[in-house]
Amino acid sequence: MALELRSVSKRVGGVTHIHPTDLVLERGSFNILLGTTLAGKTTLMQLMAGLDRPSTGSVWFDGKDVTGVSVRQRNVSMVYQQFINYPNFTVYENIASPLKVAGFDRGEIDRRVNSAAELLKLKPMLQRRPSELSGGQQQRTAMARAIVKDAGLVLLDEPLANLDFKLREDLRDELPRLFADRDCIVVYATTEPVEALLFGGHTATLSEGRVTQFGPTSEIYRRPQDLVSARVFSEPLINVASVQKRGHEFALGNRARWNAVGGTENLADGDYILGIRPHHVTPTPEGAEPVAIEGVVLITELAGSESVAHVDIGEATWVSQAHGIHPHEIGETSRLYADMSRALIFDGDGGRIWP
């Protein structure tokens, strides 16, 4: 019981929007498509929904080939970034609309609408029209409509992107619970790594029309298969630098040297790309293997409980992100500590080879 993409690709006017993609999404799972704008998230969703026909390959749902079966013939719900509701319907009528179309009786409609409204905290507004609601309530209405008909596939295309920061946080909190007891496949597109992490479930990282990796979210975050996936799944962007391994030592140009330990000593001598997340580069030594690196401070940001500094370390500009207030002066030479026990090591082509 699953949604399956088999070598699905999409080309429009000679331009590849989606490269051949294989993906299996299980029933009862929460899946995230993570990537920047134009990475291909929306196109991929449209192919899944049957809103668009793949150029090659096939789409299977519960063992049936549904390639080319239109969205109307399939049990699919979608929620978009823009709040889309029927403006002349009340909230109740908006939520009830897919049930009416499907021919449910009045009692069943009433029961389902009320239960969805309860979950999405819309009970007090059922008789209002969308124009009388806040953005958050409008989007809750669209979500209630999406869950009410028990669709087998629910596609959420950046549904929180147009909401205030805090509303986004609140809804992000509630969303997984909406689907907890349902047997549907949820696909959620976002540009924000932390959103993917908080939802958990499974994540597919997307870059330039390619699914670069798919698996359990925290595994993808901690063990990105390549540099591209690591970049997609980092905010601020993962720090990168060329390093050389000689014997038992690593060197970052002439900025830093450290002992290869914890298994990295077995890597062959040669040039590698080191990747380390900004929160593992801190103004004071932290973690198992802090290595000092000096650089010139370019930009500093203090955000209440954390400090961020952009530092030119010669070969690259790195970002340090630390808890607490660590004032830096712009232009000063500052020492940072990179916890090398948290570093990822990639080969020259960007494939992860450690850990």
Binding site: T36, T37, S134, G135, D164, F165, K166, L167, E169, T191, E192, P193, V194, L197, L198, G200, T217, S218, Y221, E235, P236, L237, R277, H279, I299, E301, L302, A303, G304, S305, V308, H310, Q321, H323, I325, I330
Partner: protein, 355 residues
């Protein structure tokens, strides 16, 4: 450049306001010093845009005065206030080149063309637009266009203040980071009064020296980013700033001692609570709650991986208490005990910090 003073200002969109509820902006007395970086932070409908429009002159306040330095400008139209404004969406001339767009605000004010040319080159340099100065704006991405908008706002040297109205809304997260840093850097270089309106705490806290937190037409607190984080004066500030927001738990206070669910809790200010105070609550940020040998008994109900940290929901007496722990810290299963940092646990009465 100017100091901005709001003196006894109120605004209502109703011609005949009767009570406080009719005011979109409740009484404000504020002074913003020359050259500061300020943010107006709050949810939609809090009055921040109304306040911005009053400053820019698009709106005349129902009551009170607005001064630039010592000059009363309450009745002046926007074009006589000498203010630059950057909006949510790019406001540029598509048919002009990037250079022409940047020079336009200067030429429009009759500056000699060699001066305009020189300034445009400098601003382009700062915003990394030098390479595309002679391209037409029409062909640029949304990010590129918004950078030009920022440049047009920053190009004039004679402005009293620069107002930014959610200027990074259309920008992708990865680029947001860069542009935010850029703006901060620009402020540090040009030292002009800047007012930045946003609902996004990260943007407010990273950009501003002082943040004005608004809710429901009121200024709830004005402070540096770390003051707002460390010592929220209102539970709203605790909730709105910080991610996740501050834990707020019902409590009672007897003989100068706070109790939650029957257990005594050490606080900084329970001894200041007056007899008969109502709406008593404890506020403690998730960052300052930890698992401990001794302490409040709770049930662990949810653990979320946020990458660099973990968000843990615990429950006691129907109240959810959140913890924010570092990546890798072990989380007990089911029942556990938690401790609060007593220097950061405070009592609030009807939402306000007891002082």
């Amino acid at each position: 450049m100017a100091r901005i003073t709001l003196d006894g200002m109120r605004h209502s969109y109703s011609p005949t306001p009767s009570g406080d509820d009719d005011y979109a902006l409740k009484r404000l007395d504020l002074e913003w010093s020359d050259g500061g970086a300020y943010a107006l932070l709050g949810p939609s409908g809090c009055g921040k845009s109304t306040l911005l429009n009053v400053i820019s002159g698009l709106l005349r306040p129902s009551e009170g005065r607005i001064l630039f330095d010592d000059e009363d400008i309450t009745g002046l139209p926007p074009d006589r206030r000498n203010i630059a404004q950057v909006f949510q969406f790019p406001v540029i001339y598509d048919t002009m080149t990037v250079r022409e767009n940047l020079e336009f605000p200067l030429r429009n004010r009759g500056l000699p063309s060699n001066v305009a040319r020189q300034r445009a080159i400098e601003i382009a340099e700062l915003l990394e637009l030098s390479d595309i100065l002679d391209q037409r704006a029409a062909g640029l991405t949304a990010d590129g266009k918004q950078k030009i908008s920022l440049g047009r706002g920053l190009v004039r040297e004679d402005v009293a203040a620069i107002l930014f109205d959610e200027p990074l809304t259309v920008i992708d997260p990865h680029l947001k980071w860069q542009l935010r840093s850029k703006l901060k850097e620009l402020h540090q270089r040009v030292q002009r009064t800047m007012i930045y309106v946003t609902h996004d705490q990260t943007e407010a806290l990273t950009f501003a020296d002082r943040v004005v937190v608004m809710n429901d037409g009121n200024v709830v607190q004005i402070g540096t980013p770390s003051e707002l984080f460390e010592a929220p004066h209102h539970t709203f500030v605790g909730y709105f700033i910080g991610s996740p927001g501050m834990n707020v738990m019902p409590c009672d206070v007897r003989g100068g001692q706070a109790f939650f669910a029957g257990d005594p809790i050490e606080t900084t200010n329970a001894n200041l609570v007056k007899e008969g105070a109502t709406g008593l609550e404890l506020g403690i940020r998730p960052e300052f709650v930890s698992f401990a040998e001794k302490g409040l008994e709770v049930r662990v109900v949810r653990v979320r991986d946020a990458g660099r940290s973990q968000v843990i929901d615990t429950e006691r007496a129907g109240t959810i208490i959140r913890l924010l722990l570092l990546e890798g810290v072990e989380v007990p299963a089911e029942t556990a005990r938690i401790a609060f940092d007593s220097k950061r646990t405070r009592v609030y009465a009807d939402g306000w910090l007891v002082e």
